[in-house]
């Protein structure tokens, strides 16, 4: 399928009656989840996953990506209104959003944030569309040996660049890979790590693992911190009229600063291409750039609208870049992309070279889903800032029982198996412990999702080229990059420790 044909087909699929309602529901759901502090984009996607069974691919993609695309918008609203970022990626918005609110400019800040999110997402989507012809050529060079080494490289990036400690992240990533080995080996029919349990013969089911790691673990956290959803109770509510007026002014301000939006979106999209970086660092880098390039540097941190615009634009532009590696190589760069990849497996959508070569319409459907989803988020956010913000005042003691039964029902519904509820509980406990002890859940999930590709591609690479496949040009280059990157980071850690010791003396 040609690119223009794919673009037209993707657009009409996105606005069709079979797809659009799911996109609408997903986008509103994502916005609601984004508003609730403690529930992240991963949570929104994890909750959507069980519903994908039985859905048409187009509808499922729209539902999943619609939910994901608006989470950051919802999180931006609470970051500004309650000084509580709904998701980690909105942390940079805290620097200038709340000071603007305190100056009576909350509507202006939220309007600017909503519009910047939409513009950033659109930029990221266009960037991905422009990358498609390049990706179509690049993927031709990627066979099993290359994919195997690329998977290891991606996992290394995720472990090193994540906010958690390097050793802990590597342990999590490798554990994820090992968990993917559970079940029957397709080549030899050998049962691996099943403990004789019939339910484990097909391996650990993705959905309960995802639900456990991200949804149950969050419930766990909320329950343990019982009733401590911050912010909602002491929020300064705005009058509806005043808010509306300011919101429209904020939207105008985002368009007025179009050059800043473009530059920060470019930072976000580029950083999205690098596995493991995620939205939060991109938002901070963009914020730093906005500050550096501003004429009013002194007012940053005291309520400068450019700070809000820069960080929010970068936040959403990341998705376009992150989708590129996920779709073209089947290598997710973040936990959200890992969940997306799992969702695509469930929907029967094959990633890798085929999707960018033969199913470009699906790629464009995703792009339009992101753009339209963000547009929906912006429109809904415009009129529902005040009602949406009340969602934060829901107490954890009420929220947790409701979400817990929905999560368990989702875990059961996938294979109609009570065993999967048990898996969700086990991974929920594991996810909570990992969160508390600083082990990267993203690395574990990405390792788990990549495990299938690592196992299959290592086997094929050895069959095709023997153990010397690592000496082929691309695998060798990727392996050198992996080792150099890892070595450099280990060296910097050792150097910093020595310096700290010297300083202590």
């Amino acid at each position: 399928m040609g690119i223009i044909e794919g673009l037209v087909s993707g657009f009409f699929q996105a606005i069709s009656l079979e797809v659009f309602p799911f996109l609408l529901v997903g986008a509103v759901f994502g916005l609601l989840i984004g508003v609730i502090p403690g529930l992240s984009g991963h949570f929104a996607m994890a909750m959507v996953i069980p519903f994908l069974y039985g859905m048409e691919p187009g509808a499922g993609i729209a539902f999943l990506l619609g939910a994901h695309s608006t989470v950051a918008q919802g999180g931006g609203l609470t970051a500004i209104l309650f000084s509580t970022p709904g998701t980690g990626q909105n942390a940079a918005t805290l620097l200038d959003g709340p000071p603007m609110r305190d100056q009576g400019l909350a509507g202006l800040a939220t309007g600017a944030a909503l519009a910047s999110c939409f513009l950033g997402a659109a930029f990221g989507a266009v960037a991905l569309a422009l990358l498609i012809p390049v990706l179509q050529q690049v993927v031709l060079f990627f066979g099993p040996p290359e994919i195997f080494v690329l998977a290891i490289l991606a996992l290394t990036f995720v472990a090193v660049l994540g906010k958690e400690d390097l050793t802990r992240s590597m342990i999590a990533g490798l554990s994820g890979l090992l968990l993917a080995m559970v079940g029957l080996d397709n080549v030899t029919n050998q049962e691996r790590f099943t403990f004789g349990l019939f339910e484990l013969r097909d391996g650990l089911s993705l959905v309960p693992v995802i639900l456990g790691l991200f949804a149950v673990a969050e419930m766990f956290d909320l329950w343990v911190r019982r009733g401590s959803l911050p912010g909602g109770l002491h929020a300064n509510r705005l009058s509806a009229k005043e808010t509306q007026k300011q919101i429209f002014q904020g939207i105008g301000a985002a368009f007025k600063h179009w050059w800043l939006v473009l530059r920060c979106s470019a930072i976000g999209a580029t950083m999205g291409l690098i596995p493991g970086l995620g939205s939060a660092p991109a938002a901070f880098v963009a914020y730093g750039h906005a500050k550096q390039s501003s004429k009013n540097k002194d007012t940053f941190g005291k309520g400068n609208i450019e700070g809000v615009i820069g960080s929010e634009a970068a936040n959403d532009a990341v998705e376009g870049g992150a989708l590129a590696s996920t779709l073209a190589f089947g290598i997710p760069g973040s936990s959200s992309m890992g969940i997306l990849l799992a969702g695509l497996f469930i929907l029967g959508v094959e990633t890798g070279p085929n999707i960018v070569t033969y199913n470009v319409d699906i790629v464009f459907l995703m792009l339009f889903t992101i753009i339209i989803g963000n547009l929906i988020g912006t429109v809904v956010g415009l009129f529902l800032v005040n009602p949406l913000s009340r969602a934060t005042s829901l107490r954890a003691s009420i929220l947790v029982p409701i979400l817990l039964v929905i999560v368990f029902t989702g875990a059961f519904a996938v294979n109609r198996s009570g065993f999967d509820i048990g898996v969700a509980i086990v991974f929920g406990v594991l996810g909570y412990l990992m969160k508390e002890l600083g082990y990267s859940r993203a690395a574990l999930l990405i390792g788990f999702v990549l495990g299938f590709a690592v196992d299959k591609n290592l086997y094929l690479a050895l069959q095709l080229s023997g153990p010397y496949f690592l000496l082929d040009p691309i695998p060798l280059t990727l392996a050198i990059i992996t080792l150099a990157f890892l070595g450099y980071n280990v060296w910097t850690i050792i150097r910093d420790k020595r310096r700290a010791k010297d300083n202590a003396r």
Partner: protein
């Protein structure tokens, strides 16, 4: 805490390694390639966690936990208990009875909500789940062991 966590993970990986060594070579290859660096890293992290725990009086921490004085630990264990109870209720009494009962118990007796609110919310959420899964997605949720036995069926 991390010390115990890493020890448990280490033991599981060691057991997996022993188990993998009995597999056919082709099947054992990838897991062993993964487990060798994993065990080294677990060793490194064990040493780090042990060093970090030197400044902590492990006995007093354990004594606080076993006496039930650690509120966070109590809540965490309690939450695991609620989840296991929910699973048991679903298996025995069925999905709808299980989720409605657990929601009511949590809302009324743990969260101390009003009786009417607890009942209405439990029933409402159960109804929404029924409409969404059974009517919307045509997924038959578990009817429960009791129902299945009476219906001449078995298993979850």
């Amino acid at each position: 805490m991390e010390l115990y966590f890493i020890v448990v993970v280490g033991l599981i990986v060691a057991a997996a390694f022993i188990s993998a060594s009995s597999y056919e070579f082709v099947s054992a290859r990838t897991p062993i390639v993964i487990m060798v660096p994993l065990m080294i890293l677990i060793g490194v992290q064990f040493v780090r966690a042990k060093k970090a725990s030197r400044s902590v009086d492990v006995r007093s921490v354990l004594s606080t936990v076993t006496k039930g004085d650690n509120k966070t630990f109590n809540r965490a264990v309690g939450f695991i208990g609620w989840m296991v109870l929910l699973l048991a209720l679903i298996v025995v009494a069925g999905h709808y009875v299980g989720i409605a009962a657990l929601m009511f118990i949590l809302l009324k007796f743990v969260s101390k909500e009003e009786m009417f609110f607890s009942l209405a919310l439990s029933a409402g959420v159960t109804l929404v789940i029924f409409m969404l899964f059974e009517l919307g997605f045509d997924v038959e949720l578990h009817r429960g062991a009791i129902f299945k036995i009476w219906a001449g069926d078995a298993g979850l």
